[in-house]
């Protein structure tokens, strides 16, 4: 059966028109009575790098493990490269080892009883690749991750970062249809994590392979992927390119989870001259992004807008323009590359980040400006 169905989600979002390479339809997973993934559908294009992002317990790893065949869903279909590997209705469940994928595990899963070479060669040997070819490909891929010198080391001698490199080399060496990465960097320290992120990106450029990357770290997801799926409590909350999700979060949850945002609640108050909705919060009127619409309010009838902490401006001179109010610096925290301020204004308190090139003092009276296009209406739930 052919399953090359053009996907709405990928088709428009990605630069070039793309065909679904991995297709997940209405995936539902339950452990006993507890449903952990509910009707999740998405697709991954050929050579596309997709991230599943969400807090722990949101079902992202379970979804990935279903694609790998390590968990059995109770409903839905999974199609990889035109082959239905799972279908609850048609009772198809292709075992993991016949799905032609690779996976990088959170715990690295480096086999302690093998050398670095044997670990990387494992997949090739199960594929019965000729031994000279195995040697060539293993040393090639080990060179790419900078582990060529340690090729004959027992795996137990490796540090965490080195094990991670071997795990990556092992995943890429067998040239699978797609690479699944399950929180691969979460066991590394912060500095190494940033470094390995770059290495993964480098490998993605070297091998043109689809990847699905599961993470709870929004920074990783933004840095590595073409497209991000934000998951929450077993469902997809939002899908989009990293910057779209960052700039236009659909809900309060996404705004909070990705980056840092201020959530301002107010009642609707017509529209602005620029064509955006306006909300009222006490005496304050806040103009929202032109072209946006207020969405579902919270139980008290308040509509929420999200303002990323990096977008509000503070200035000393008073200029008369919309969304500008007098404010006072309450607290300043120097974080090194950025400065975090808490300012008090008529709408309450607001957090914002600036660069340390121009500093304001605590207690200083300033003007706060929220650019209207940065005030994004978000769904309360």
């Amino acid at each position: 059966m052919l399953a090359l169905v053009p996907s709405e989600q990928t088709g428009s979002a990605i630069d070039k028109p793309n065909l679904a390479y991995i297709e997940v339809r209405d995936l539902t997973v339950a452990y006993g009575d507890k449903v952990v993934v509910r009707n999740v559908s998405f697709s991954v294009g050929r050579n596309e790098h997709l991230s599943l992002l969400g807090p722990s317990g949101c079902g992202k790893s379970t979804t990935l493990r279903c694609i790998a065949g390590l968990e059995t869903p109770i409903g839905g279909e999974i199609i990889i490269d035109g082959i239905t590997v799972f279908s609850a209705d048609r009772r198809i469940n292709v075992p993991t080892e016949k799905r032609n994928l690779s996976m990088v595990f959170q715990s690295y899963a480096i086999w302690p009883h093998m050398t670095v070479f044997e670990n990387v060669a494992y997949g090739l040997r199960t594929q019965r690749v000729a031994e000279p070819e195995v040697k060539k490909r293993v040393s090639n891929v080990l060179r790419m991750v900078g582990m060529e010198d340690l090729i004959d080391r027992p795996a137990t001698d490796l540090s965490g970062g080195q094990q991670q490199r071997v795990a990556l080399a092992r995943a890429y060496a067998s040239r699978p249809k797609a690479i699944l990465l399950d929180e691969p960097l979460s066991n590394l320290d912060a500095r190494l994590r940033v470094h390995m992120r770059e290495e993964i990106k480098h490998l993605q450029h070297q091998f043109h392979l689809s990847t699905i990357y599961v993470t709870h770290d929004q920074e990783e997801a933004m840095a590595i992927s073409d497209r991000i799926i934000v998951m929450r409590e077993g469902s997809i909350e939002q899908t989009g390119r990293p910057l779209d999700i960052y700039d236009r979060p659909r809900s309060r949850f996404v705004a909070d989870f990705i980056g840092a945002a201020n959530i301002i609640a107010g009642l609707p108050q017509g529209a602005s001259a620029a064509g955006g909705p306006v909300i009222r919060l006490g005496d304050v009127l806040i103009e929202c992004a032109p072209g946006s619409k207020l969405v579902s309010p919270d139980t008290a009838g308040n509509h929420l807008i999200a303002v990323r902490t990096v977008y509000p401006e503070i200035v000393r001179d008073s200029v008369n323009r919309p969304n500008q109010w007098p404010a006072k610096i309450v607290r300043r925290v120097l974080l090194g590359d950025i400065v975090s301020y808490t300012v008090a204004w008529a709408g309450g308190e607001l957090r914002l980040h600036t660069f340390p090139n121009r500093l304001f003092e605590e207690g200083e009276n300033v003007q706060l400006h929220i650019p209207a296009e940065r005030a994004i209406p978000v769904a309360a739930e």
């Binding site: 239905t84 198809i92 469940n93 292709v94 899963a109």
Partner: protein, 572 residues
């Protein structure tokens, strides 16, 4: 391109959702319930049997047997004294030796670690035989030496007393306590003690307030293990107690079962009481341990903080040396010596020493020759079957903690609460009740061994299985390896050190076993333990000793093999 044939749903599809409990959990559970439950049922019904004593299961029920038992309360009382006293002494030896080996700077700790482990696999039968020749009041070697040196005729020690039995039990069970408590000591984070010292507590206060409470779970489980094993201990009280008519429950049971006519119901009633006693002990220990978190003792191995005891080090060294003398050097030396004699009296005239006894037991006498061969077969069989079952069960329980895994684990550990002699009696009755005739076959003994040693095997394998991250296996499957290939290239190699160690342990305990095989091995299927025992019963110390030495040598070879593979495993 077409899909994988959809009309052919792969095996295992959605299986967990239909059954609720996985097949790998319920199949062994059902088997274990049958293999443990039916013998237990037969003991239970027989204990209340007031009709035909050879009817299994019984038809007429009443409390007569328990009324009769009330006239023999001394059997139970003696059992409790021996088991209680033996446990108290054994735990004291175990705690002190574990502490000396793991927590002090005593020289030669590594050697003692090796030597102290040996008496356990050698077993109580070898120990009792050796000590009956060492500590007999008149012609025991120790008393002869005492008289020769001091000229005093009165014996220094008498091993044929309750105290002698307690002493022998404790000495030969203590290695288990050293092992369990020592392992807990190695898993304790030294920071916990360092912290106490920082808050101003001295060495003693730290030991009392921090170390001992943390060790308590390990000490209690070691004590429970010893207590149940001494309640069911047969060889030591029989060999050391029978001549002075000191009866504990096990040798009383033996007499009841071997008498003519055999009194099955009374023996079953006695066995039932013993099962209740061990059951209560297990329940008590679990109750005390509940609520005590093991979290402070992590899975990680630490290098425990070692205390320099100054001049006391020499006292400790002397203490450890005395233990090794009493448990290993003197008993083995005595057996060797006795095995070279041509009469029961041990003589020191080298010229009259002979190897005839070895020739006799190993080649000339068909019964013992066959017993040696049978024991080797049983050792290999129990090791192989036991390790296989234990591994499968360990994987199943580990993989389905919630889906009945815990129940399976409890079932697997259950045989530990039954004294082996009593279980074997129930098992024998079950075999006689089965339509297939297994009585008197090696297979019957093998099955009984596998069941009674399953807790031991499970303990060994579950520790290893838990350490294997599931992702290691999943990584292989994602790499395209079939389940069989995953087993061959990933799981088995990772389990290998644990498999070898557990296999060898099962081999050793099967070769030395007597309680479980005493009634099960028929005249044509003699095995070493019962053969040594019946040899002893009919006299002839030199030949008994020779056979015991052969048994000890088999066990020592197995022990050496484990040690070598363990060392090799550590190096890789």
């Amino acid at each position: 391109m077409s899909t994988i044939a959809s009309e052919n749903p792969p095996e295992g599809f959605a299986r967990p959702f239909r059954l609720g409990v996985r097949a790998e959990v319920w199949i062994p559970s059902v088997l274990l319930i049958g293999a443990l439950g039916y013998p237990l049922f037969l003991i239970l019904t027989s204990a209340f049997n007031v009709g035909d004593p050879e009817q299994f299961p019984a038809r007429e029920y009443g409390f007569d047997n328990f009324v009769k038992l009330a006239g023999h309360l001394d059997w139970l009382w003696n059992t409790l004294i021996v088991a209680g006293g033996g446990t108290a002494l054994g735990i004291s030896i175990g705690v002190s030796l574990a502490w000396i080996i793991h927590r002090t700077t005593m020289p030669g700790r590594r050697w003692f670690d090796l030597l102290i482990a040996i008496p356990y696999p050698l077993g109580p039968l070898v120990g009792a035989l050796a000590w009956s020749q060492l500590g007999a009041p008149r012609d025991g070697l120790i008393n002869r030496a005492f008289t020769a040196v001091t000229g005093i005729q009165a014996p220094l020690i008498d091993i044929y007393t309750p105290l002698g039995i307690i002493f022998t039990e404790a000495v030969f069970e203590a290695p288990v306590a050293v092992l369990i408590i020592g392992a807990a000591m190695q898993r304790m984070d030294p920071a916990l003690e360092e912290c106490s010292t920082i808050f101003g507590s001295g060495k003693l206060r730290t030991a009392w307030k921090v170390t001992l409470p943390l060790m308590m779970p390990a000490i209690l489980s070691a004590a429970l293990f010893m207590f149940t094993s001494m309640i069911g201990s047969f060889a030591i009280p029989t060999i050391l107690g029978t001549s002075s008519r000191f009866y504990v429950s096990t040798n009383a049971m033996y007499v009841l079962l071997q008498g003519y006519p055999p009194n099955y119901p009374l023996a079953a009633a006695l066995g039932l009481v013993l099962i209740v006693i061990t059951g209560v002990a297990v329940w008590l220990v679990q109750r005390v341990l509940r609520g005590r978190s093991y979290a402070v003792i992590s899975g990680k191995n630490y290098r425990p903080r070692q205390v320099d005891m100054g001049w006391l080090t020499w006292v400790l060294l002397a203490y450890a040396t005395i233990y090794v003398m009493l448990s290993l050097v003197l008993p083995m030396g005595t057996l060797l010596l006795a095995s070279f004699q041509s009469s029961n009296a041990i003589g020191f005239d080298f010229a009259s020493w002979t190897l005839r006894n070895y020739k006799y037991v190993m080649f000339d006498f068909p019964t013992t020759r066959q017993a040696i061969v049978n024991s080797l077969i049983l050792g290999v069989g129990t090791g192989t079957l036991g390790v296989t079952f234990a591994t499968l069960i360990a994987i199943a329980t580990h993989r389905s903690k919630n889906g009945g895994g815990q129940m399976l684990e409890q079932l697997t550990m259950l045989p530990q609460a039954f004294p082996r002699l009593i279980f074997a009696v129930g098992f024998l009755w079950m075999i006689l009740a089965l339509p297939i005739n297994l009585y008197g076959t090696l297979l019957a003994v093998l099955l009984a061994y596998v069941i009674v040693f399953l807790p031991l095997a499970y303990r060994g394998m579950s520790g290893v299985v838990v350490q294997i991250d599931k992702a290691l296996e999943e990584a292989a499957r994602v790499s395209g390896a079939s389940p069989m290939r995953v087993l061959r290239t990933v799981i088995l190699p990772l389990l290998r050190p644990g498999l070898i160690a557990t296999w060898a342990l099962l081999f050793m305990v099967s070769v030395r076993e007597i309680s479980a095989s005493l009634f099960l091995s028929g005249t044509n299927t003699q095995v070493l333990g019962p053969a040594i025992f019946s040899f002893w019963d009919s006299g002839g110390m030199p030949r008994v000793s020779a056979l015991a030495v052969v048994q000890a040598l088999i066990i020592l070879v197995a022990l050496t093999v484990v040690r070598i593979t363990a060392d090799r495993g550590a190096r890789v």
